[in-house]
């Protein structure tokens, strides 16, 4: 269980099912969370997670270790998400109550109710960002990928990632300054 993902990957390539199972244990939560935040429902997130890992197992021989396994699996997941979005064409900017319930449940990283409320509204504003900026925010801030890893997943330049992040933060800042947020 202490093996690095790349070693597990090598073993899985050789047909080791246990190694593949360990990889699942390591990454299924992050992949599921990625889809859950993007798709906004459990069913689609489960479905896309399943598809992502199916493709990963099929493409395992082509994984050459040039990027980390995390980046690689996020890349596959991103393409799966793009295909899903193209077919399903979900309505953009739809309000997601899950963020509010999520933030309100369990042990919260936020100290008081006011801060929790503010965070809830920021998360809702993220979902209203443009597609490219929204995905960059998800990968970099929610999934915890570095700038370089985000760029690798989206197959864009790091400068583009930085540009989109700056734009996203600017949008969030300006929108959060609107009366509704200020009143909160």
């Amino acid at each position: 269980m202490n093996d690095a993902p790349e070693e597990l990957c090598d073993r899985a390539k050789a047909g080791d099912r246990a190694a593949a199972s360990e990889l699942l244990v390591l990454f299924h939560k992050r992949v599921f969370a990625f889809f859950r935040r993007l798709c906004r429902n459990h069913e689609d997130a489960e479905d896309l997670t399943q598809k992502t890992f199916s493709k990963a197992w099929a493409s395992l021989p082509s994984y050459n270790g040039r990027s980390s396994f995390s980046t690689w699996i996020h890349g596959i997941g991103y393409h799966v998400y793009v295909d899903w979005r193209r077919k399903k064409n979900p309505v953009e900017g739809k309000a997601d109550e899950w963020w509010e319930t999520c933030v309100g449940e369990g042990p919260s990283p936020f100290e008081d109710a006011a801060e929790r409320e503010l965070a809830s509204q920021v998360y809702a504003l993220v979902e209203q960002l443009e597609q490219g900026s929204r995905e960059v925010v998800h990968l970099h801030y929610y999934q915890g990928l570095s700038i370089q890893e985000t760029a690798d997943v989206l197959n864009i330049a790091t400068s583009t990632v930085k540009y989109r992040l700056r734009g996203a933060l600017g949008d969030l800042r300006s929108k959060s300054a609107e009366p509704k947020l200020r009143a909160s």
Binding site: G15, A58, V122, R173
Partner: protein, 302 residues
Amino acid sequence: MNDEKLEEILRKSPRVIVPPGVLDHLQSQICLPSAAPSRADSFDARPWLRRWLPALSFAAFFVTCLVAIGIQVSILSELKRQNEALRISTQGISPLRAANEEYKRLQAQGQELERLRKDYSDLKRLRAEVGQLRGQLPEVEKLRADNQRLTTEIAARSGKSDPGEKPNDDFFAEAQAKAERIQCVNNLKQIGLAGRIWAGDNNDRFPLDFLSMTNELNTPVILKCPADKARSVTNWAEVAAGNVSYQMDAPGSSEAENPDTVFVECPIHHNLLLIDGSVQQTSLEFLSTHLKVVNGRKVLVR
């Protein structure tokens, strides 16, 4: 809210709880590909056509090249053979060429012979005519004697015997003299026309000499009177040398002058070209009474 606060909130995004059973479901669906084959195995695993495609392509190209070279060699050998055949055939062409030359020479000789035959027949015909005319010669002599006798008789009967006057025994000579006089008048008319054209381009003044009218006169031949047997004018060089029958009496005269001023005259026939362009046929006796000199110009007084 500043960017640091925003980033802090974003990084503290709520954790997503994976529903129970998802991991089990995913683990049950693990479907790993068979163990990665070696390079040699993967090469063998490819379809036959894909494995052999490069070699087959090269082989096809090579065979195409060979076929093209073969066709070209075949064409080349055929051309060589044709060239050799043509070379052999040209060896026999020189006798043919010589025979052709001989044929042409004989043909030319035949034409020459034909021409000579024709000339000979003409010669024979002319000889016959000469013989016939010689036979008529005594008769002509007799007729001439009769003519002279009759003329003498006519003169004796009319009582106008003039020993200084030559008997005009040749009608044709008289007719020829008349024709020459008319031709002389014609020449003077052409000279007059040329002079007036020249004057039209030179302030209405006639030329100073005949040589000035080389552009206006068609030919220098008209500057010779047909009765002037001592001269022969065929080109302008002879005109420049003064070899002209006619005499220019009023060189450089103006058209505004007396229209009866004599411009050119014929010393043989005494024909006068006046500056008005008219030609007057006169005689020596007429001129002695009607030709005056006014201001250095000969003027015809009518």
